[in-house]
């Protein structure tokens, strides 16, 4: 293991997306998207609805084929079965009838991809309990997952994704259906996990403000194209205007950042590509 990486070599990025383009039924969804995520970094994938955030995450997961470009995980081209990436999809509808406690769902994250029936073991039980504790889910570990609140379900899903000890955690709009307070709790939980467990977090959101305090880097996606870097270098009028293809303003109001379409852009702008950040 150790002879593979000489001490002098620069640390390999956990994720390297290079020149990824995706066309779905003739429509260009992603256009030459490139960015990298370093170990333990918290990266926000920000963009309006329809900008291609979910598609990009699916490409990284290997669920969507890119028409061009490559995705490398820890320097290696991604393979079909790769447990080094944890995933919390956008809409997981947990049925209230599902006979499953929070701890059962987390256990399924550890070995759900294996064939056969679950085999109980002390090690498995301890690993699950430890992971539930890490996401502050001890209180509802034995409750039916389908009856938990949105924020509680999100914690359980995060534990489910983390138990396989991934180097990279992808979350698709995890704050979408949460109230502001639960959203903030999830964000600070993720920031803590990224730091403590050295897991890189790539989180998509159409609203960047809850993420500003914790984001190391931003990947801003608009019209299928991306700009990436530290927030103060990306969330700028000139950078975002060139992504959107029309003038947008970046306003700082009481510590919040608002991206708004500039004068004259409103009528021509595609509704689906309306700037993010002006709501909430």
């Amino acid at each position: 293991m150790t002879e593979h990486a000489p001490a002098s070599a620069p640390a390999t990025d956990v994720l390297d997306v290079a020149g990824v383009s995706v066309s779905l039924s003739g429509r260009q969804i992603l256009d030459d998207v490139s960015f990298a995520v370093g170990a333990g970094q918290f990266t926000g994938l920000i963009g309006p609805n329809g900008a291609g955030k979910t598609t990009l995450l699916r490409v990284i997961l290997g669920l969507q084929r890119a028409s061009a470009g490559t995705v490398a995980l820890a320097g290696q081209p991604r393979s079909r079965r790769d447990s080094s990436v944890g995933y919390v999809p956008q809409k997981v509808l947990l049925d209230p009838d599902m006979p499953m406690r929070a701890r059962d769902l987390v256990a399924l994250g550890a070995d759900g991809h294996r064939f056969g029936v679950p085999i109980r073991s002390r090690a498995r039980r301890d690993a699950v309990a430890q992971m539930l504790h890490a996401v502050d889910a001890d209180r509802f570990a034995d409750a039916r997952v389908g009856l938990l609140s949105g924020g509680e379900q999100q914690r359980v899903l995060i534990a489910q994704a983390l138990i396989s000890q991934p180097k990279l955690l992808l979350l698709d709009e995890p704050l979408a259906n949460l109230d502001i307070r639960s959203g903030q709790e999830i964000v600070s939980l993720l920031a803590r996990i990224a730091a403590e467990q050295q897991v890189a977090v790539l989180l998509s959101a159409h609203e960047m403000n809850p993420l500003l305090p914790v984001m190391d880097r931003v990947v801003y996606l608009a019209g299928g194209r991306a700009a990436s870097g530290p927030a103060d270098q990306v969330i700028r009028a000139d950078v975002l205007s060139s992504l959107y293809g029309y003038h947008v303003d970046v306003l700082h109001v009481h510590g919040r950042v608002l991206v708004v379409a500039g004068p004259g852009a409103g009528q021509d702008a595609d509704l689906a590509a309306a700037p993010a950040g002006e709501t909430g």
Binding site: V92, M98, V117, R139, Q160
Partner: protein
């Protein structure tokens, strides 16, 4: 005491060959149906399960026409039907109802034709009753054949248990973990087709839905554990089947006309009663907030919503 005993078990219940066979085969098929049924309910595929029953009906009535045992037709056409539904698009939630409805319609049409031909060929009306509503006391397939199919269905479900459950929770998470989601879904549908074919023997193709869904739905009222739900569903299914057989046997002695009533009716009636009995307390429990131990102040100090 003895009177009560003979009142419950009418004379000859335990010495009758057909009754003993019915108890064994009925119990076994109830177990297979219950196990497949829990996944069917969780995956929201009850309609597909029912539709496979109709496909089985077409297969069974067709098999009679060409001199095969009904079980051959039940399972043979059921498996083909499951494959057809998968091809048409059952793996997509939106395509599911459509695919199922199309296959179901075609199957009932075929059943109508085959049963008509069966009846005119043999000049008896027994075929319709046997195929649609079961004939647990006159099963033509041998026990080894039934055991083999049961083992196949149960073995397949045990093999794909974890990936199937993960795909049921979220097909996206499963796919991202490398689970061949579509293949696992197809394997489950084939196991379901075998389960439905087996219960078509006992309660009939049309009523196979009751044995598939009823015990599973009942068990889901009672537990938050997958394993326990399976065990409870099996117990419910077997108990209902055995109680139904007993009641049907006894019903011969009830009136002066000495006419035994159909087993299927009694089995389904017991399942329905069990479902109602468990639905009421479960509804009350769901209205209660989730059980919590003594109030705990956690790190984030947030509040649990019910």
């Amino acid at each position: 005491m003895h009177e009560l005993y003979t009142w419950v078990f009418e004379p000859g219940f335990f010495t009758s060959g057909p009754v003993r066979t019915a108890l064994v085969i009925g119990g076994l098929t109830a177990v297979v149906s219950a196990v497949a049924g829990v996944f069917t309910v969780l995956r929201g595929q009850s309609f597909a399960g029912h539709s496979l029953g109709d496909v089985s009906a077409a297969g069974g009535s067709g098999a009679l026409l060409i001199g095969l045992t009904p079980l051959t037709g039940f399972i043979g056409l059921g498996v083909l039907g499951a494959g057809a539904m998968d091809l048409i698009g059952i793996q997509r939630v939106r395509g599911r109802d459509l695919a199922t409805g199309i296959v179901l319609g075609a199957a009932i049409g075929l059943t109508a034709l085959f049963l008509y031909l069966d009846t005119s060929a043999s000049a008896t009306t027994g075929a319709a009753q046997q195929i649609l509503f079961g004939s647990i006391f006159t099963i033509t397939s041998t026990l080894p054949v039934i055991i083999t199919f049961s083992a196949l269905a149960l073995g397949a479900i045990a093999l794909i248990w974890r990936p199937l459950l993960l795909a049921t929770v979220s097909s996206d998470i499963a796919a991202a973990r490398g689970v061949p989601v579509r293949l696992v879904g197809l394997a489950y549908m084939l196991a379901l087709a075998v389960a439905v074919g087996l219960s078509s023997l006992t309660v009939g193709a049309i009523l196979s839905t009751a044995l598939l869904i009823g015990p599973a739905a009942t068990s889901l009222h009672l537990t938050t554990r997958m394993g326990r739900a399976m065990v409870l569903a099996c117990l419910t299914g077997v108990a209902a089947t055995w109680a139904g057989i007993l009641l049907a046997y006894d019903s011969y002695y009830w009136g002066s006309a000495h006419q035994g009533l159909p087993v299927s009716f009694f089995i389904v009636a017991v399942i329905f009663a069990a479902y109602l009995l468990t639905a009421l307390p479960a509804r009350r429990a769901a209205a209660r907030p989730p059980e919590t131990a003594a109030p705990v102040t956690d790190a984030t100090g947030d509040q649990i919503a019910a």
